[in-house]
Amino acid sequence: MKDFATLFTALDQTTKINAKVAALAHFFGQASDADRLWTIAILSHRRPKRTVTTTLLRQWAAQESKLPLWLFEESYHIVGDLAETIALVLPTTEVAAQQDHPLSYWVNYIKALGALAEEEKHEQVLAAWRQMDKQERFIFNKLITGGFRLGVSQKLMVRALSKHTGIDENSLAHRLMGNWSPDSTTFEELVIAANPADDISKPYPFYLAYALEDTPEALGEPADWQAEFKWDGIRGQLIVREGELFVWSRGEELVTDKFPEYQLLREKLPDGTVLDGEILPYKEGEVLSFNVLQTRIGRKNVSKKILEKAPVVLRAYDLLEWQGQDLREQPLGERRILLEQLLASQDFGDTLQLSEQVAFTDWAELAQIRENARQYRSEGLMLKQKSSAYRSGRKKGDWWKWKVDPLTIDAVMIYAQRGHGRRANLYTDFTFAVRDGDALVPFTKAYSGLTDKEFRAITKWVGKNTVERFGPVRSVKPTHVFEIAFEGINASTRHKSGVALRFPRISRWRKDKPIEEANTIEDLKQLLQQYGG
């Protein structure tokens, strides 16, 4: 695994994109096909199934390091990464000139643990740790625990692979989509010889929009642009090919079984149809809040009750494949005509709906419409250039999301916890409260929105103003007021405050406000009444 460890170190030591691509391309050039395939799998979040629980790993690591478990756990809270904590505390062994095994060897080693009894697993894991250096142990642990972030996006990986193979990036991105695992394919099959059309379930890479930072005037002629409401659901791709239906979420997850409502489209849509749209909770002519959808995402079984409570529809905004033809290179305007014709061709009930265009003549008028987007349970607007092709990944220029300004509330920080990964050792995870008479009622957590400098300042402050410690969580003296921004608000029985926020984050540190000027629970309830559901 030395070569993979070297790759890892190289990726970890630089923030420069070109250096990362070069290191990856170099690795692809040297590694075996099996290692290449596993590297692609790991970088596209296809990790081997977990065969050892983290509870056992913690116990074994503490034991092997002769540390009490509590001390190991405390260390973990501070390091913020289990695989790293284990690698750091294990005693350094004199690594004799061991035979170096490739990445794929260790992946198979870990997979084989699944069939073993606990005692044998223990022996195998110890044997592995004892023949590795720190960096290899870290990688080995990461392979077991998952969540391997190498600071390399799928986009970068594809670029490096393209450099290595000479295959065009877009084509590679498409080949790497969909339902494969290193066990079901080979590097040759997946990357070199692949014909995406062979796999009828294979989705197209999603085209993702950037947020519009400026005013839309900079985009030019309003007539060149198509506007739609932006819906708060799950981005999805619906595929009908050879009489079968597949639904993919943006996270490249096959979610067909989670949404049985779409099965009726299998017969209604002709073979060779791929739609891009939003999976939305919808009932009796109304879009429901994302909260409703959330209640069914995590469930293994979609019960009748759930189907009744949180039914979904697909609001389609693009047609990527029609009659088996890839339409992505055609201008949006033409795809749109075909999409509208398709949706008008028969009665799809509520299940398949068109994402309507928003009519406007100038930008000022559109800005006005955006202001009121929340009334329609929309998050704002999408702007798409009518002449644009359907591109892959996040690309600037043709598609923009123009969201409504978030809702905000001024809240008091009452708990703090250290972050993970890049923010390990800094207090970055906070719980906020609103006032209720003299009391403070916690209502949300928020993790992001401050600068590193502000996080450092607040970290220093937390150290000096801790009231109580609850494991990794500290309660602090209520002192600081922060403006919390969020996209939506819903009633919740799970929270003390009775509300749940959508995408809460810190928008500003209100150093100008004492806690007496923070918002109250009544303010929160009023927002709930106005915007909640």
Binding site: D12, N425, D452, T459
Partner: protein, 340 residues
């Protein structure tokens, strides 16, 4: 009456009427070493080791400083006081106090490994030991410095081969001189930031050899830095001062670089795990060697370290001080500044 008390002004010995590294102005201060959180302005008189004095004088100006050699004992109102090497920086000391057969020792900051420049750490037998715990977690274990300096010199060499300037950050007093001591000057010229060079000059004047270094001056052409190395305080990174060095590779040498999260948070290209504080093993070894039964933990991961020491059978306590403690640990982006 305990031999040492913990007061708002600092660690106090009532019998001798002296404070150790006090953070509020007092009449008589015993100083473990010259870093700013231990050696502060405003005391009427200072006592430190002979080798620590020049830097303290340089930093604090015309103050009343007396000096004492390591291992030499003085009597202050019946309390026998002596200074013993702490291995942290040049002149750094642990301070031993003995009264009626009871011995206490204040460690200040210390490290076990002999860095070749500071007077090497010596364990002091005592009944009560006041220790730092900056890196008092088992995740912090240092490799020997030869390994780390090889990494640093290799990095410099690599940068030179790629036509880059190397900028290595380190606290101006202590770490900077340690780095210079171990850099391979056959690779190129060692340049220094003014804050580092000022300290170098003070130390050279006291007769300690430090390799030739060149102060970065406006007059030096930017091209001259290519292939060479610059030692600067962490604060210099991100300031306009570094703009003239390009193409640039930035390295940071600090114990905090042990953690991947801390490394990634910095804008540095490379992090080298090098500290002037004891690691986990070092802290435990030092405490064991004192033979002390009572241990007071000052700054660092105090809560956790205290609990660990109690597990090990020590009568351990936390002492709140204004030494840069857990705060600095977390607020470590500027690296050595807080670690020092």
């Amino acid at each position: 009456m305990a031999l040492l008390e913990f007061t708002k002004k600092g660690i106090f010995c009532p019998q001798a009427n002296v404070y150790i590294d006090p953070w509020r102005p007092v009449d008589r201060a015993l100083i473990t070493h010259g870093h700013a959180d231990h050696s502060r302005f405003g005391h009427k008189s200072y006592l430190c080791t002979t080798t620590a004095k020049p830097v303290i004088r340089y930093r604090l100006g015309p103050i009343a400083v007396q000096t004492i050699d390591y291992g030499k004992e003085i009597d202050i109102n019946g309390v026998k006081v002596s200074f013993h090497p702490a291995g942290h920086i040049i002149g750094s000391a642990q301070i031993r106090l003995e009264y009626k057969g009871e011995v206490w020792c204040v460690s200040g900051d210390y490290k076990i490994e002999n860095d070749g420049l500071s007077e090497a750490f010596e364990p002091v037998k005592c009944h009560a030991f006041i220790t730092e715990s900056t890196f008092g977690l088992p995740v912090y274990t240092w490799q020997d410095q030869a390994t780390i300096f090889k990494q640093i010199n290799d990095w410099w060499r690599q940068n030179k081969a790629e036509g880059k300037v190397s900028l290595l950050t380190a606290y101006a007093l202590g770490k900077a001189q340690r780095l210079i001591y171990h850099l391979d000057e056959s690779i190129g010229t060692i340049y220094t930031h003014g804050a580092v060079e000022n300290v170098n000059e003070v130390i050279r004047q006291q007769g300690i050899h430090i390799k030739p270094t060149t102060r970065v001056r406006q007059a030096i052409k930017s091209k001259a830095f290519i292939g060479n190395i610059i030692i600067a305080p962490p604060g210099a990174v991100g300031s306009p001062w570094v703009r003239r060095f390009k193409p640039l590779s930035v390295g940071m040498a600090s114990g905090w670089m042990s953690l991947r999260g801390a490394r990634r948070r910095r804008a540095a290209d490379r992090g080298f795990v090098l500290s002037d504080h004891a690691d986990w093993e070092g802290l435990n070894q030092a405490i064991a060697e004192t033979g002390a039964e009572r241990v007071f933990v000052t700054h660092g991961y105090t809560e956790i370290f205290k609990r660990w020491l109690r597990d090990q059978g020590y009568d351990a306590h936390i002492v709140a001080t204004e030494f840069e403690g857990e705060l600095s640990e977390m607020n470590s982006t500027e690296g050595e500044e807080q670690e020092a």
